[in-house]
């Protein structure tokens, strides 16, 4: 037998990680699934294989990038990598199903601003005050943390922005009824804003609700597999959830505020041209 995948060290318990042959073996169920899908003509085989290939390529690339970054820690590397991650995550907002190209770019810029501001605040608290890592640009800490925070908050921000628009569209007449009675833009849009906040926060709140009961969070799992004690791993996980949920919440609030400025004029008029249909004939 080949025991080379078991790494022994003096201070840590044995860390088990799959070797390359192990990965090939682990892919067997995947091939099995692909075979069944093909034989039964159920489709999705192409997407499945493309996704698997992309996953491998992207993760390998990430590995190369991370190796390089960790080998060259500097404030500049940390900032550039964080910015790049922020930009990429903002680009994923609005990539599905919106027909208006012009407004998609507006949305992406606003999503970028919202996520950047929110993450800056929460990451400062997390890294400077809670973890107290030195130096402040400690790439090994910052980059994985911000990656996890962004992955969640982008989703929430996108959902909230989408929901705001669909609510305003569906409730256009009520929004204008409120405006006509003298409501401010904010007052008139309040039910839509509330629905958008709910849409943005619900996935994160749900995952917090079931964390540790139905699911064992990925980060904690990773640390435990990597040989860490349970106690620090769970403290880390709790901190991450605090950072994620506050980043999502702040990001959603900021993006909604920015969106409202686009949907209404300064004198509290709903901009019908921002909603796809142009409404009634008169």
């Amino acid at each position: 037998m080949n025991y080379s995948h078991i790494i022994l060290s003096d201070s840590l318990p044995a860390v088990v990680a799959p070797d390359w042959i192990g990965l090939v073996i682990a892919s067997i169920p995947l091939w099995l699934c692909a075979a069944i899908l093909t034989l039964r003509r159920l489709g999705q085989v192409r997407s499945l294989l493309i996704a698997a290939t992309r996953l491998v390529a992207q993760i390998l690339l990430l590995g190369v990038v991370l190796e390089w970054i960790f080998a060259n820690p500097s404030p500049l590397t940390s900032i550039v990598v964080c910015l790049a991650m922020l930009i990429v995550s903002a680009l994923t907002v609005g990539s599905r199903g919106t027909s208006r190209r012009r407004s998609v770019w507006g949305l992406r810029i606003e999503a970028f601003l919202a996520i950047t501001l929110a993450a800056l605040l929460t990451m400062t608290v997390g890294i400077r005050l809670a973890l107290r890592v030195e130096p402040w640009y400690a790439t090994r800490t910052i980059i994985p943390l911000i990656g996890m925070v962004l992955g969640n908050s982008v989703h929430g921000v996108a959902l909230a922005a989408e929901r705001l628009e669909s609510e305003l569209k569906a409730d256009r007449d009520r929004v204008e009824t409120r405006l006509a009675l003298g409501a401010t833009a904010r007052q008139a849009a309040l039910p839509a804003i509330r629905a958008a906040v709910k849409a943005g926060l619900t996935p994160t709140i749900n995952s917090m609700m079931i964390a540790g009961v139905v699911s064992i969070p990925g980060m904690m799992t990773g640390q435990i597999l990597a040989g860490s004690d349970v106690a620090p791993a769970l403290r880390y996980q709790i901190m991450i959830y605090f950072l994620i949920v506050s980043t999502v919440c702040l990001g959603v609030l900021i993006v909604l505020r920015l969106r409202l400025r686009r949907h209404f004029t300064v004198d509290h008029r709903l901009r019908l041209e921002m909603l796809d249909d142009h409404g009634r004939s008169e």
């Binding site: 009824t177 009675l181 003298g182």
Partner: protein, 260 residues
């Protein structure tokens, strides 16, 4: 008689109280939407102490005209003046408090009947009226006095229409624009609305501008009729005279199919 502490007489708004009896004028008002001139150079004066009715086929620009008066839209060209002052120079919210608007086929705001009636007070942070005076308001539009707690979703189209009128009146506007206010009402309920607006005009100086397709209602809603066609004013005068010289075919048949 119904009495409610009006929003206009409280606090900061006192400065803006312009129950002034000033004419409301459109000068060369043009409204462009989706590359089309929905309103194409409207020159029109709504004199004080008169009620107006706006007639015209679907797509003639009737609703768009009302939206300009309430500042839900600002004209692309031209201006809307109250007296000598452009509405665009006043805060939109002040304008809307004074120039109210009841939309076509209103759904009502989610919640109870009372929630709807209280909304104008809520948004302006004004002490709300008592339930008794809200009930009076319901009675005034011909709805049951005891319906304050009823959910809006339980109301029919015609009941919602009257609730919307009551809500707009709760804000105590000087001028009220109504878009097809009786389209969902039976003749008896329509008569109540017509009488209510006439009473308000007599007691309270309320001025109304009503958009309607219904020729038979036109004379009762307004002393003066304005006929729009493709975003332009094509006729203006005493309603009875305008009706005799405008062929019914000009708007009636097209409108009915479009009403939904």
């Amino acid at each position: 008689m119904f009495y409610m502490k009006s929003i206009s007489r409280t606090r900061a708004n006192r400065r803006h109280d312009w129950r002034s009896g000033l004419p409301l004028r459109l000068i060369g008002a043009r409204l462009r939407r989706g590359g089309v001139n929905v309103l194409d150079g409207i020159d029109l004066t709504f004199e004080p102490a008169r009620s107006y009715v706006i007639l015209g086929a679907s797509g003639a620009g009737k609703s768009s005209l009302l939206r300009l008066l309430n500042r839900l839209d600002d004209p692309t060209d031209g201006s809307v003046l109250l007296g000598d002052e452009s509405l665009a120079d006043r805060p939109a919210r002040t304008v809307r408090r004074k120039i109210g608007m009841v939309f076509q086929a209103p759904r009502g705001l989610p919640g109870s009947v009372a929630d709807n009636l209280l909304y104008p007070f809520e948004i302006h942070g004004v002490t709300p009226p008592t339930d008794a005076s809200l009930s009076d308001l319901l009675a005034e539009v011909g709805l049951d006095r005891s319906w304050l707690d009823r959910d809006v979703s339980a109301l029919s189209g015609g009941e919602r229409q009257r609730l919307a009128i009551a809500t707009a009146l709760a804000a105590d506007p000087e001028i009220l624009c109504l878009d097809e206010p009786t389209s969902a009402l039976d003749p008896a309920a329509a008569r109540i609305v017509v009488e209510l607006l006439a009473n308000r005009a007599a007691d309270n100086g309320l001025r109304t501008i009503v958009v309607t397709h219904q020729r038979e209602q036109a004379a009762r809603f307004g002393a003066i009729a304005v006929v729009l066609e493709r975003g332009r004013v094509v006729d203006l005068g005493p309603t009875a005279e305008v009706l005799t010289r405008t062929a019914p075919a000009a708007w009636d048949p097209i409108e009915r199919s479009d009403d939904s």
